[in-house]
């Protein structure tokens, strides 16, 4: 058995003439947090959808626990344990915490054809799970709309884990959050990884990624610029790679030039 829980080897995806992804490779061990960094348009969304089974890769292979896997639908990805939490979270604000937690997978009780939604059990599990991550849901029948952004994010992640995710794919989990809320979510992600999950954290925010990540894969214009262990790369280097390095350097030179002209006058 290889040391990796899941491997995405040389994944490519084309849309007509457009090369959305080319030869992207990511390998994750249990308990590892890999941050996938990239600017807008770098191909992050396409990669997420490929990981989640929405798109089929045109080239490359996905190996999960040493078995080669082909996803035909998002359900296949879910079934083997790749849980994706999209940016929109798939939460309904008007529905309660419990009803959201079990949306689409409600526990049932009773005799066939008259089965009922086991609300008590669902309430208990939802409150319990949220309690484990430090969110005290005192009334699980409360609407999700009353929760903060960070709490909603945690709810969505917690739901994915409860329903059997071994690999968590998180799409910009901190992008819409303030500092306090973001740190709450990041803390939870670290906790989930420490319990043996592999986490792919997609973000364009290096400052959120760097403290929690074990390794970093940088995407630029559909290509991987490589995967780096934390000890091998600095925050500044990552930032400059994400922006395409040269471009930032050029910008700096230009700004200095403008500054010089300005001072002369």
């Amino acid at each position: 058995m290889s040391e990796y829980l899941v491997q995405f080897n040389n994944i490519s995806k084309f849309f007509g003439k457009v090369i959305a992804l080319k030869d992207v490779t990511m390998r994750l061990k249990k308990g590892e947090i890999m941050c996938l960094l990239g600017d807008n348009g770098a191909g992050k969304s396409t990669l997420i959808k490929t990981l989640a089974g929405v798109h089929k890769p045109d080239e490359g292979e996905i190996i999960f626990e040493d078995n080669k896997i082909v996803f035909d639908s998002p359900k296949d990805a879910l079934d083997i344990g790749i849980g994706t939490v999209y940016q929109d979270l798939a939460l309904v604000p008007l529905m309660s915490v419990t009803r959201n937690f079990f949306m689409g997978r409600e526990p049932q009780k009773g005799i066939p054809f008259l089965k009922t939604f086991d609300v008590e059990k669902a309430n208990k599990i939802a409150a319990d799970r949220m309690g484990q991550i430090g969110i005290d849901v005192r009334d699980p029948s409360q609407a999700v709309g009353t929760m903060s952004g960070g709490e909603r994010q945690c709810l969505a992640i917690s739901r994915a884990i409860y329903f059997g995710a071994k690999v968590l794919v998180l799409d910009e989990p901190t992008s819409a959050l303030g500092v306090h809320q973001a740190s709450m979510v990041l803390k939870y992600i670290v906790k989930a990884a420490s319990e043996g999950l592999a986490v792919i954290l997609i973000t364009h925010n290096v400052h959120h990624a760097y403290p929690v990540g074990n390794s970093f894969t940088v995407l630029n214009r559909g290509k991987s610029m490589g995967t780096f262990q934390k000890k091998d790369i600095s925050r500044e280097k990552l930032l400059s790679m994400m922006a395409g390095g040269e471009e930032l350097d050029k910008l700096e030179v230009e700004l200095q030039e403008m500054d010089r002209i300005h001072n002369k006058n």
Binding site: Y86, P93, G104, F117, G131, G134, D136
Partner: protein
């Protein structure tokens, strides 16, 4: 309010949480969608109790009268409410009522079918119409408003054209004689609890005719259907997995799909639900009147939606209740009949209906903001 992030705590007991503020029963009620309609119903009863208390409106006969009207509207309002919670509209309810009416009458009168077979045929057509509405909305992604508006015209036109083609008229009478001994028609045409009314009559507790039989002879079938459907719909919404899917489909279609809710199937089944409820309405009315009329059910779709909205359903979907819609129907039924007992001209009923709906929408909007805004 009662959600708060804390540093990681190992204890998460539901039952004994000292930080759980005691919420008064009134506040719990305030968060329920049916509150407005419940309060409205009480106000309406108080109003007519004062204005028309001594006119016979609240005699057994008078009460059954306005309950019958409320119940008929309620049957379609509940189905409309469930569809609205699921995020869609059905404007073809009224036309479906007319169409179902002639689906019963023409085969029974002109083709010599037994009445029960015509009724089964009408329900089969309803399932077909509902399925068509649903599949059109789900597959094309068009607003249900447009799809069912088209169906409103198609069905009404079909009803008129077919009836005139076959009968040369726009009404099909002569059904009453077929009801007796029919194995199915009694479901839609029998007054129940007759013994109760006879007994109350014998005690002179309710009004009697000159021949000594009670004026009100029994609970009309519409009321029984209305109560049964309210309970059934509430059970589905609150207590079943399918109910959760209805809320999810209306609340966030994309999100629900992403977590595995079969949104398309849920919506199609709800469209079938409104068409079937329209057919139940048609059965009751056609068998009660003994005839089918091509214009039966005109504008009923709007009344049903109005009752659902007064009952707390959001126009945007994902929120509402069947009990609320039931009370919404009771408000409209009571006022539409009660107005006869007052000095007020009945022309004012529509004004009331519109005003009521406007107040309800403003109120619902406020409630939704309260429910969804973070504290």
């Amino acid at each position: 309010m009662s959600l708060k992030s804390k540093s990681i705590s190992s204890k998460s007991s539901l039952n004994e949480d000292e930080r759980l503020k005691k919420i008064s029963p009134l506040r719990v009620l305030l968060n329920r969608p049916e509150l407005g309609a419940l309060g409205g119903s009480i106000l309406v009863f108080i109003f007519f109790g004062i204005v028309a208390g001594d006119t016979g409106m609240f005699s057994a006969y008078g009460m059954l009268n306005f309950l019958d009207v409320s119940a008929n509207l309620g049957i379609i309002a509940i189905a409309a409410a469930m569809l609205m919670i699921g995020g869609e509209f059905d404007l073809s309810i009224g036309s479906m009522i007319g169409f179902a009416g002639i689906c019963i009458a023409i085969p029974a009168i002109y083709w010599g079918w037994p009445l029960w077979m015509s009724i089964v045929f009408a329900f089969a057509m309803a399932v077909l119409v509902g399925y068509f509405n649903g599949i059109m909305v789900v597959k094309t992604g068009l607003p249900s408003f447009i799809v069912t508006l088209a169906m409103l015209f198609i069905l009404r036109g079909l009803t008129l054209a077919i009836t005139r083609l076959i009968t040369g008229r726009t009404q099909v009478p002569g059904l009453r004689v077929l009801i007796e001994d029919d194995p199915l028609a009694w479901l839609f045409a029998t007054d129940t609890f007759k013994w109760l009314f006879t007994w109350l009559g014998s005690l002179k507790l309710i009004e009697l005719r000159t021949d000594g039989t009670p004026l009100a002879t029994g609970i009309p079938p519409s009321v029984i259907w209305f109560i049964a459907l309210t309970l059934f719909a509430t059970w589905i919404l609150m207590k079943t997995r399918y109910g959760n899917w209805i809320f999810a489909s209306g609340g966030d279609k994309v999100g629900a799909t992403n977590v595995g809710v079969p949104v398309g199937r849920v919506k199609i089944s709800l469209f079938i639900g409104t068409a079937v409820a329209s057919t139940i309405f048609a059965c009751i009315q056609v068998l009660d009147a003994g005839s089918a009329d091509t214009m039966r059910g005109t504008l009923k779709e709007l009344e049903a939606i109005a009752a659902a909205v007064v009952g707390g359903c959001l126009l945007t979907g994902g929120y509402g209740s069947a009990i609320g819609a039931a009370f919404g129907a009771i408000i409209f039924g009571t006022v539409s009949m009660g107005i006869f007992y007052t000095d007020v001209d009945t022309d004012w009923f529509k004004v009331f209906l519109g005003a009521m709906m406007l107040i309800a929408v403003v109120f619902n909007n406020y409630i939704r903001k309260k429910v969804t805004e973070s504290k």
